[in-house]
Symmetry: C2
Subunit: 320 residues, 2 copies
């Protein structure tokens, strides 16, 4: 409960297993730290089984094949693999995606061309269906997901406003990600007044990564027919008990608004259509991304804890 | 603010206007009292202009034509007319629906074959799309809307559980409306445990008329892919300030659930398809309804205040 501490994590050595027929051995190049991991170590009922105390932290990685008894993989292949926080892993190869460094830096498989990018894509387009001229507000707008959401909304012809915690983040999303408007919630007293100023036509779409008082304020500025995508609630993840907040459901009647939670994994069958479109937007310069690289396997816990505190700009990745 | 008092209302006399060409004069037979009217006199921003102090209470009625200068109407015609709380009204006839007493008692135009029935129909079918075998929970289940929702869900092959405040209400929804399960929230301590007992397969659809702690409990029992229709929040309407409650949005991610508010008026273009289907279900005995008739025009305020306190079983109507 509460914000995890580095002492909650333990670095352990274990022998690298012998390969069986059809298996490959990979060595991690990049490992991912993501907000969703907080839920996996909370012990609370959720959509995935929790990690037991003493268990391996789960998570995505990009790794190089260093030994193979599987004819589908050669030594030197680079793969996207859900290997957890470990340097080496053995796999039978099923479900692994081979990465081509010529298409994009392989680390992007953990960010804009991976789970966070797909989260932005489907959470915005599938749930909110933004129309040209509509106003889209994004919380956590400088994160791996939020920074992409605003850019996709812009491609779709929307007016975009981002909320983030830090002037450096605000500068980046305005200058690089092309948000039309943005504010730093840490230095803003009245979120509601600021939203009304930045979104003079009201809010049609809200992509929520954070929850809490920011989301409360957005609910007061909705337009009729608003769509709200609940991607994350990072402001709540370290709470030791459920936080109280103003009851919001009445506003949904007034605005005939829809609120929908989603998990990107439910969209996995459609990733193969979305990834080329996203890669195209990167090539054309319509989507910019930023990686926040932390060096060193041993720094995974620190990188993760800092992520929960909002240290990162763009996708935080640990380079092994 | 707070629960309205009878002294908040004033009975006023005014001359009956002269009819112009194309106009009709009607006299009220039945006038409606509905929970939504509380919002109209709150002075708060909402989906309809508030009634000013000293203004006429707005609302639906069933009335008889007593004078006509419109060739489309004859003296004696009975019409469904949004006339407000008054005994006489003048209309140009546009938008009025003539009622045939041979089809159903004309008072049903204010209930099961009117706004509340259409609210149940579209709020359940259009927003929640219940599938055979799914579990549907309804709050305010003995009201004009909730009592119909459970019966439509039953027609669609669902397991139904209703929540209401009073043993007489519970008896009625179980014995007459065919709910599979029900509980009286006024005599139940642990809503969550009771819901788990009555809905052993979890909750797929929730039709919410009340909000507050009942709705909090339902959010803890949802299934993946749950759909929640926010029709009303009657537990909140008399609050003098926004009530605090546990933040619920995180659960929507876990369950990939959708919450949508709606107004039945948005479905008006489809009423003419839905009303015959509803009338058919009444004729076939698949839908039962109950009217809670209060006698006397002067009792409108008392009938309305009692409605907000949950006195009624079924549709409360004032007979003029």
């Amino acid at each position: 409960m509460g914000l995890p501490k580095e002492s909650d994590f333990r670095l352990a050595d274990a022998p690298v297993p012998e390969l069986g027929d059809g298996e490959i051995l990979v060595r991690a190049m990049y490992l991912s730290v993501d907000p969703y991991m907080r839920g996996r170590i909370s012990g609370m009922k959720s959509y995935a089984a929790p990690t037991e105390i003493g268990g391996l932290m789960q998570g995505g990685g990009v790794a190089r094949v260093i030994e193979t008894k599987n004819p589908g993989f050669s030594v030197g292949d680079i793969v996207d693999i859900y290997m957890g926080w470990q340097e080496y892993a053995v796999s039978n190869g099923r479900g692994l995606r081979k990465l081509d460094p010529a298409v994009a830096p392989v680390s992007t498989a953990l960010g804009v061309l991976g789970m966070p990018g797909m989260t932005a894509y489907f959470g915005l387009l599938d749930i909110c269906d933004p129309k040209p001229g509509e106003t889209v507000v994004v919380s956590g707008a400088a994160g791996a997901v939020g920074s992409i959401v605003g850019q996709i909304a812009k491609i779709k012809g929307c007016h975009t406003a981002g909320i983030a915690g830090g002037d450096d983040k605000i500068t980046w999303i305005l200058d690089e990600c092309g948000y039309d408007a943005a504010f730093n919630y840490k230095t803003t007293d009245n979120y509601s007044a600021k939203l009304k100023e930045l979104c003079p036509n009201g809010i049609d779409v809200y992509f929520d990564n954070v929850g809490g008082p920011i989301t409360d304020a957005v609910f007061g500025c909705l337009n009729v027919g608003a769509r709200i995508s609940i991607c994350g609630q990072i402001s709540q993840y370290n709470n030791t008990q459920v936080e109280m907040g103003p009851r919001l459901l009445g506003a949904l009647i007034v605005y005939r608004a829809k609120v929908q939670g989603f998990l990107v994994s439910d969209y996995a069958p459609r990733f193969s259509q979305a990834l080329p479109e996203m890669a195209g937007w990167i090539r054309s310069g319509q989507i910019k991304y930023r990686e926040d690289i932390v060096e060193g396997f041993e720094n995974l816990p620190k990188a993760f804890i800092g992520l929960l505190q909002g240290e990162n700009i763009g996708k935080r990745i640990v380079k092994v």
